[in-house]
């Protein structure tokens, strides 16, 4: 009997040591996982906060000479990235106007016809689309829009390339959201004699609204930071441009431009910080919406 208890005790001790070490390991690994995001935010704030001011979001960037003078005098580089902010807003809004209706309707179609060949093909193509490198989408928009339609780099071309990027995300999230709605809700509406299209518009979409919105916001936050396709389509502009057929800047494009100009390198930190704030903000909002309706 005593021996048995002894064996039991040693086993227990060994087990509790094992248990503790695994627990510590898990904590350490989690810390390693979150450290990049903490470091990124720390670096951006440390290097960029000085530039962040009202001027930064309402003024156009300085020219190289102004920036150089300011640098030499040890002053903060004057000017801001308002042209990039307006350009990003215009292009993201236009991309959303193109991608959201098409994506939501396609998602509804996939949900309604799960087994149909055309739906399967569409679903696969949408998945493939998600994997296409963004620079290729830029090239495509260049061939479709820049050359034949706007006869030069334009916000429209940029929007089209961004819309194509957004599309698969919206299609997927629409389909997945609708799938989560219990069949019984749909039956309840049909049993009241509601025609099919009204069941979709007035019951399924409102019921899954938060899911749809989350998908759309995540899609937007994904294209907010896209740079490669915009280089081939929107190109960039040093002034505010509201004409969608003309070259337009965007925040990520400006970061790239600042990087290439030794006098303006300081501006990349504040620009990146601003972009991060926009993306994180959208992510938080979509998380909030998703959590509230669960």
């Amino acid at each position: 009997m005593e021996v048995a208890t002894q064996i039991k005790n040693t086993n227990l001790r060994r087990r509790s040591i094992k248990d503790k070490s695994v627990k510590i390991l898990v904590v350490v690994l989690s810390l390693i996982t979150i450290s990049p995001i903490v470091l990124i935010i720390y670096e951006l704030i440390a290097k960029g906060y000085r530039q962040l001011s009202l001027d930064f979001i309402i003024k156009t960037p300085p020219d190289t000479f102004e920036a150089m003078t300011a640098l030499n005098n040890g002053e903060i580089i004057p000017g801001g990235i308002v042209n990039g902010i307006t350009g990003t807003l215009i292009m993201v809004i236009m991309a959303s106007i193109i991608a959201i209706p098409v994506g939501v309707v396609t998602g509804i179609y996939l949900y309604e016809n799960p087994g149909k060949t055309l739906a399967n093909i569409t679903r696969n193509i949408s998945d493939i689309l998600q994997g296409i490198p963004s620079i290729v989408l830029g090239l495509i928009a260049y061939i479709w829009i820049v050359k034949p339609i706007t006869n030069g780099y334009s916000a429209l071309a940029g929007s089209v390339s961004l819309a194509i990027m957004m599309l698969p995300m919206i299609i997927r999230s629409t389909e997945e959201t609708l799938k989560m709605i219990p069949q019984s809700i749909k039956e309840a509406a049909l049993a009241l004699g509601v025609p099919y299209y009204k069941v979709i518009l007035k019951v399924l979409i409102p019921t899954g609204f938060s899911g749809l919105l989350t998908g759309i916001l995540l899609g937007i936050s994904r294209i907010l930071g896209e740079t490669a396709p915009l280089m081939l389509t929107a190109l960039g502009s040093s002034m505010i441009n509201l004409d969608i057929t003309k070259p337009t800047s965007a925040v990520p494009l400006m970061i790239w431009e600042f990087y290439n100009d030794p006098n303006m390198v300081d501006l990349i930190w504040s620009s990146s910080l601003l972009l991060m704030i926009m993306v994180l903000g959208l992510n938080l909002v979509s998380k909030r919406i998703a959590a509230r309706t669960k």
Binding site: P182, S184, I185, E187, A188, A189, L190, A191, L192, G193, V194, P195, K198, V199, K202, V203, P206, T207, F209
Partner: protein, 263 residues
Amino acid sequence: MTKMSENTVNIKDPVLSIRNLSVSYEKGRYAVKDVSVDIKRNAVTAIMGPSGCGKSTLLRAINRMHELYENIETEGKLILNGKDITDMPTIQLRRMAGMVFQRPNPFPTMSIYDNVIAGYKLNGMRLKRKERDDIVERSLRDVTLWEEVKDSLHKKGTFLSGGQQQRLCIARALAFDPEVILLDEPTSALDPVATAKVEDLLVKLKEQYSIIMVTHNMAQAARISDYSMFMYLGELVEYDKTKNMFTKPRDRRTEEYLTGKFG
């Protein structure tokens, strides 16, 4: 067909007449096979039978909800209150035949109030505020939910308990003032107390409405139904007053089912 006529109880002025109804999901595989039956007005009629015997399909054929499935083929005739329903617009038919499902399914985005008048709202029928209020109050009183929810009509329907939700769903069906109410195992997802409430309610409702109810629960059929159908493999085996069927079933299969030999 002699067997059929033996089953058919003599019912005068039936609310619903089903004549030679067959429903198949694929060619040659019948879910409901040549069912003819008359349903009594202002009574509770129970449809019993083991799983897969076609009782739900029969119920759904009455408001043509079964047409949702693909490749469905329906033969035969259904006469609801003197009207052939085969080519009736579904909105009109489903106003006459309200349906309540196994699981309570109030619309999660709508308030209790909106859930009750959802049939009007979703179909785009405009009502005056007074009319709307009246319909909501009458329907909720009919399901004995009014006193419980009258102060929280604008809360979401999903905040209610399961039994309350199911009564709300019955109220939603009653809002159209239907001829028949079709219930597909309405208490199978409820606890015993809520079940008892719904059963009492159905007995009360038969004064105004005709009720057809699919049930798995024989005791429930015995408690509240006036007439019972027993279905097996898509066929209507026996149809009789519930009291007769439970005391002296005519068919051996009915007897075996009722005594728990299968099902």
